[in-house]
């Protein structure tokens, strides 16, 4: 194994982590402020990807598609918040899980209704095509670097939003004491809708960014959703900082596990078996990690 390969894999882990953060940030924000567990977050991710692919193929511009993904996911988020989610804040987690599970069914089948059963085409913008050379002889796709940078900027922006702006003050107040902010004259209903739409927009953006790398299809949100839940649980539900660090941890551990475990096993087993067993072990790795962390810290690493 060369240093270049190790660096490349580390970057891959970071990139996966950054994408997970965009998903997890919305989830954890919504949980922190409204106490809501939203399984339909993956559907908003899918909405963003489909909106981006549809607009990009109509206009020929990926960037317009990206804007459309933010707008569509935020709009979808706001609509379901007003129609459905609002009624769930006072309910227990069980009802929230079920109602948002129902939303997944509706979103998935509804999307297939509109766009058909075949995957959509969405390509990387021409300016970010191809690979660039990094120091140390590493060749790395430009788009993935851009995603890492964009994710980093969004994390900083989110931190600034929460610590520096009026909205951020209200969000933090909402996390600490829901009755209090009502007493202070903040319109809670609007605040909740805004926070939910913000979380949805982040998910939609993640969907669009990933859609260009992967495949835009119905059901694409579900595997990511479960990973994002692992992230927020490890990070401590409600904590943006925890979500960020846990996302990077999960991204790097998952990538490195997939890469290193078969290699390690190959030293003791024949290559074919090492591949199979290494493959199984690495797909279970992050869940094992999560179980370990929760066994010692039942409320995650950075519980709010």
């Amino acid at each position: 194994m060369t240093a270049a390969l190790a660096i490349e894999q580390l970057l891959n882990g970071l990139q996966l982590g950054v994408m997970l953060f965009l998903m997890a940030a919305g989830l954890t924000l919504i949980f922190g402020v409204m106490g809501l567990i939203n399984l339909a977050h993956g559907s908003l991710y899918m909405v963003g990807a489909f909106a981006c692919a549809a607009v990009a193929s109509l206009t020929g511009s990926f960037w317009l598609g990206l804007i459309a993904s933010l707008a569509a996911a935020a709009a979808a988020g706001a609509i379901i918040e007003v129609l459905v989610i609002r009624r769930l804040y006072s309910r227990d987690h069980l009802d929230q899980v079920l109602a948002t599970f129902a939303l997944i069914l509706i979103f998935s089948e509804g999307t297939r209704w509109v766009f058909g059963s075949f995957p959509l085409y969405l390509n990387i913008p021409s300016i970010l095509q191809g690979a660039v050379s990094l120091p140390g002889g590493v060749q790395y796709p430009a788009y993935r670097l851009a995603v890492i940078a964009a994710g980093g900027l969004i994390a900083l922006g989110l931190a600034a939003l929460i610590t520096r702006t009026r909205l951020g003050i209200r969000i933090r107040a909402g996390e600490n004491d829901r009755e209090m902010i009502g007493a202070l004259g903040v319109d809670i209903r609007t605040l909740y809708t805004v926070v939910f739409a913000l979380g949805a927009a982040l998910a939609g953006l993640a969907g669009a960014l990933v859609g260009a790398l992967q495949s835009v299809q119905v059901g694409m949100g579900e595997p990511v959703l479960i990973l994002a839940f692992v992230v927020i649980v490890i990070g401590g539900i409600g904590s943006i900082k925890g979500a960020f660090l846990a996302a990077l941890l999960v991204g790097v551990v998952d990538t490195m596990g997939r890469f290193l475990l078969p290699h390690l096993l190959a030293t003791v087993l024949p290559p074919s078996e090492a591949g199979t067993i290494g493959g199984s072990a690495s797909s279970m790795l992050i869940y094992i990690m999560m179980a370990f962390i929760l066994a010692f810290r039942p409320r995650g690493l950075f519980a709010a």
Binding site: L5, S117, F118, P119, Y121, A131, L213, G278
Partner: protein, 378 residues
């Protein structure tokens, strides 16, 4: 979903005269019409129904149901079709794991099963049955063809597939014919959509070719990411990953990729021209390999139904075995295990106008059977 199509109405509207029939035939189609894999089931259904409609045979009815790609659902639907609808023949399942769940029960209850796609090794070997026919291939065939093709220009191959039985069969099939060195053999998580870690290993491996079997969305994701990585190693794979249903979603990244198939829409024969034109006229898109397989399964059933009563199991089976129909893939006959013996081609992904599609560039095997026929004792 349930659709009962009386072909009579269709026959009238088309003005096609119906052939003499021995007896009515009721076909139960279980396929995937919802969920992530729905594209494959939709093509299977459309190809199948095209043949039924063109035949205009009023004694043939088809009941169609959606299995949502769940094995339990497929088993329940099969029970329903056999116990309630009294179908004579089952068909349509896309996925091997669903077929493994349905086939034993169906043949045990004396029903024919004609597979439009799934062809797991156990059912071609020890688990073969006189009532089970496969109109598509044996699962390993297209992988074997790429192994054979890779011998031409490649000495060191990097091979990868998802970590599930079909994935292992795929790489086994490839290695069965590839004579060079396999530098790395990787099994990825089923449903994985980020292949950065694997692509990095391909870059570092020094392989002169990559063979990958990643069906559906996994393949789309892999090809798009591979194209961005700057790795120049040529990629090849079985035709599933470069079929008409996924090519538009991969786009330019698929251009030039070699893949295998027992059929391609540009095959030069009369039956194929008829099929491709009729499919385009009916559905306004190019047929995929799944559509062709559905079409042939229906043709095969129709050819037997025209000569024998489906209730007379032995006679009907004998007619099915003759495979007396014009396949768009050219010559077609059955092996001793009732799986096809056919030619397998090497195809290349090209762009014709605005459409991404496959073009035949060579032949990997002529009259190719499968490795399991010898284990089949009937």
């Amino acid at each position: 979903m349930k659709t009962i199509l009386s072909a009579a109405a269709l026959a009238l509207s088309l003005g096609v005269s119906s052939t003499a029939m021995a007896a009515p035939v009721k076909i139960g189609m279980i396929t995937t019409l919802s969920g992530g894999g729905a594209g494959l089931g939709v093509d299977t259904r459309d190809g199948f129904m095209l043949a039924i409609k063109r035949a205009g045979n009023e004694d043939v009815t088809v009941v169609i149901e959606d299995d949502a790609q769940k094995p339990e659902m497929a088993v329940q639907l099969a029970d329903k079709m056999i116990q309630q609808e009294n179908v004579d023949i089952l068909t349509g399942i896309v996925w091997s794991n669903l077929l493994m769940a349905v086939q034993p029960g169906a043949v045990a209850q004396g029903k024919f099963y004609v597979s439009t796609n799934a062809a797991p090794a156990p059912l071609a070997g020890k688990g073969c049955s006189p009532l089970y026919f496969n109109a598509a291939y044996q699962n390993d065939n297209l992988h074997e063809a790429m192994g054979q093709y890779a011998n031409e220009a490649h000495k060191k191959m990097f091979i990868l597939a998802p970590n599930y039985p079909a994935g292992k069969d795929s790489l086994t099939g490839f290695k069965r014919y590839f004579k060079g060195e396999v530098v790395s053999e990787i099994y990825t998580k089923l449903g994985q959509t980020d292949y950065a870690a694997e692509i990095a290993q391909i870059r570092a491996s020094g392989a002169d070719g990559v063979f990958m079997f990643l069906p559906g969305g996994m393949g789309i994701a892999f090809m798009k990411q591979f194209a961005q990585s700057g790795v120049e190693t040529p990629v090849m794979g079985p035709g599933f990953s470069f079929s008409q249903d996924v090519l538009p979603a991969i786009g330019d990244a698929a251009l030039g990729v070699k893949n295998s198939g027992q059929w391609s829409h540009d095959l030069d024969n009369e039956a194929n021209k008829t099929f491709v034109d009729a499919f385009k006229a009916e559905y306004n898109r190019l047929p995929s390999i799944y559509a062709m397989q559905g079409y042939d399964a229906a043709q095969m059933i129709l050819s037997a139904a025209a000569k024998a009563d489906v209730k007379d199991t032995d006679a009907f089976r004998a007619e099915l075995l003759k495979a007396d129909f014009q396949s768009p893939r050219g010559k077609f006959k059955f092996n001793t295990n009732q799986h096809p013996i056919q030619d397998i081609y090497v195809r290349e992904v090209v762009k014709e106008g605005d459409t991404y599609t496959n073009k035949i560039v060579g032949t990997a095997f002529t009259d190719h059977g499968d490795a399991y026929a010898q284990d089949c004792k009937m």
